[in-house]
């Protein structure tokens, strides 16, 4: 009797753990999307075409167009290190807070390699708390406008 109940416990735990593991792997497979910098995405254009991707870069200066009448935001994500850019279109959603030229942005959406365009479903700008490293904490030129 004792033996059998232990066996049952082991079996139940295995099913539970196996089930959870299966769930995680299956969901990871079905939802995982590749992460790119703009430069990497342009380089991998062929393999990333028509895939859901995440792009992490900066909002290219002067690229933002906000078409209020059609509720359409277009801009380019610039690579942090190179000159590479990827165009982004984002429709029927509000521009997130802190959306500013040169600011950090994450774009989630489907990539169209022929147009080098991401049709975004989600935009994230960096949020408010500013836990930057020590270097950026030493205010130099940025502060000057307040001390004038």
């Amino acid at each position: 009797m004792k033996k059998r109940s232990r066996l049952k416990i082991v079996a139940a735990s295995t099913i539970l753990l196996g089930g959870m593991a299966f769930l995680v792997v299956a969901m990871t497979r079905s939802t995982s999307m590749r992460y790119f910098t703009p430069a990497a995405l342009v380089a991998a254009a062929g393999s990333a075409d028509d895939q859901r991707v995440q792009v992490d870069g900066l909002i290219a200066e002067g690229s933002t167009k906000w078409d209020a009448a059609n509720f359409k935001l277009t801009f380019a994500v610039r690579d942090r290190e190179t000159e590479a850019t990827v165009n982004v279109i984002y429709e029927d959603r509000l521009k997130p807070d802190n959306f500013k030229d040169g600011g950090s942005v994450f774009v989630e959406g489907r990539y169209d390699a022929t147009q080098n365009l991401v049709v975004a479903t989600k935009l994230m700008t960096k949020c408010a708390s500013k836990y930057e490293g020590a270097e950026s904490a030493a205010p130099t030129d940025e502060i000057s406008y307040t001390s004038e």
Partner: protein, 672 residues
Amino acid sequence: MTAEIGQAAIYLSVLSCLWAIGLLSFGLWIRNARAIQSGRNAVIATFILISIATGALIYGFVTDDFSMKYVVEVSSAAQPLLYKITALWGAMSGSLLFWLWLLTVGGAIVVWQNYQRNKQTQDTLADYSLIPIAIVQLFFTILVTGLIDGIYNPLARFTDGSVFADGQGMNTLLQTPLMAIHPPTLYIGWISLTIPFAFAVGALASGRIGSGWILRSRRWMLFSWIILTIGITLGGNWAYQELGWGGYWAWDPVENASFMPWLLGTAYLHSVMIQEKRNMLKLWNILLITLAFQFTLLGTFITRSGIITSVHAFGGSGIGGYFLSFIFASTAGVIGLIVYRWNRLKSANRLESLLSRESAFLLNNWLLVGLTLIILWGTLWPIISEAINGEKSTVPEAFFNKVVIIPGLLLLFLTGAGPIISWKKITANNFRRMFLLPLVIGLIGGALTWGFLALIGYTFPLYSVLCSFAAVFVVAAIFAEFYRGAKLRAKRQETSFVNGLNLLIQRNKRRYGGYIIHIGIVILYIGIMGSKGYFLLEAKSMTLGESMEVGKYKLTMIDAFEKEYANYLRSGVIFDVAKSGKKIGTMEPAIHNYYRAKPDEEPTKESAIHHVGMNDLYVALANVPRDIKTGGVVNVQAYYNPLIGIVWIGVAVMVLGGIVAIAEKSERSGGA
């Protein structure tokens, strides 16, 4: 001068931490009461020193001392006093100091409680526990000395002696009352987890691994759990009100970092009951509380090291490595102690049946720890995927939303089944008496939900039906528990039912407080089900006079306004809200333009929320054009969030239950 005093205090507290660690270890080793007392005093000294340092920093904020780096970074002369003080945790080095200060408060309280207790009995458990506390304090003290790369001393002045005319000021998004209390609440929750962890280590070190350490640290754990619950919810509420995306939870790495210790803490609160009742799971409990503590550090590591990109701007700050080293070193220390005490960690009892209170607890633990690991997996997936196939990938919100449903529903069912299933082994009698009626009522509840959802057009809402079934079952099961207990009390004491209920809760606050928490969980689940599963989202470009529809509601933009406040300009529009043709109110979403905004700061969205019972209408704007009165276009995003009000109520009930449970003072063994 004050800044220099503060810096000196931080350097001195390195010594007091070392003193505490050394003298306590030595005193406990050779059983020398004077050495132990000296170690305890050093813990108090650390508290005083760090209080001085923290006070000096606050003084710097209040007096606008712009020769201090940190003050310039997060404060400005025009910042309201409240936000000058909350600027303390506005950026990294200050928040580490604040974290450390809270930890020294914790240490001082442990010394005080031990002093009170030792008037009656002599017990060295708390003294053993002070050693790990002092070690963690030492780690944080070293971080804020400014002697290591990546973090500067929060009290440091500019090295070139420059003095700024004004500071940069804190980000405007953070200048709301909710943001003033959300971060410290979470910090307090995380830090108080250190204390039960320290007691576990103390128990291992001293060799007394019975339930003594659990009883001694139990209220700390509950305290931590309550505060974490509040802190996490405040964050969600802030995001909902301020960020304009209509939601309260997005599985962001930083949110996950706060949620994982909560899950582990919840698991621990349950598993200790088995140790108390059945003397099982000794090793598991020590592992669980160690894990919970390490996850608070891991959370800091994840969010501060820059290895995971998050919407919270942390950047690669270089302190991640120190956290990771400390996590490894302290885990290794605990494992070493476990190996050393291996013989004493064996369980006195075995699990007897798959269907018993013990296995319900165990299943609860497996699910909670499983959920933690799943969330960790998703959070670390960028790193894991890179390690596996050399290419970084991420998982979206949808991954988490989908993957937590089934374990989440099982857990919900357990909140009702756990309290009513019998110990050792379920019997037919137990099943008939306790389970049958709640199950039947639950099935009816599930069926009614199904009918209702089918009526409004959802054909096969499987998870909602299961969730409603489980929710109704749990409520029925727990109300029956209260009812039976109260009736019995009333009969025994020959008093009214209400008095009986009161007596029942008074006599066993921890158990019935726990049940109240379970009711809160049910309410929370219903709120999440409604707001995550059935929200509506509409977006439209509109001019004055136009209207848009969200579900049954019609929003007509009737006017625009502009109003000047002390530090910002508020411009917005006014909507008439109508339901089925009848006006039910107005909404005024707006944009705040801060006069002193930094160049990298955009105006903030101030969304308008209109409550219709427990459901919310939520409207946010992207912009209010200058020419709005003459045909300018406003971009409007409107949500209908059903049952979202229930989310906050559920959490409030959970906190209430927690407060009832923590009121149980005695160190007697008891509970569910």
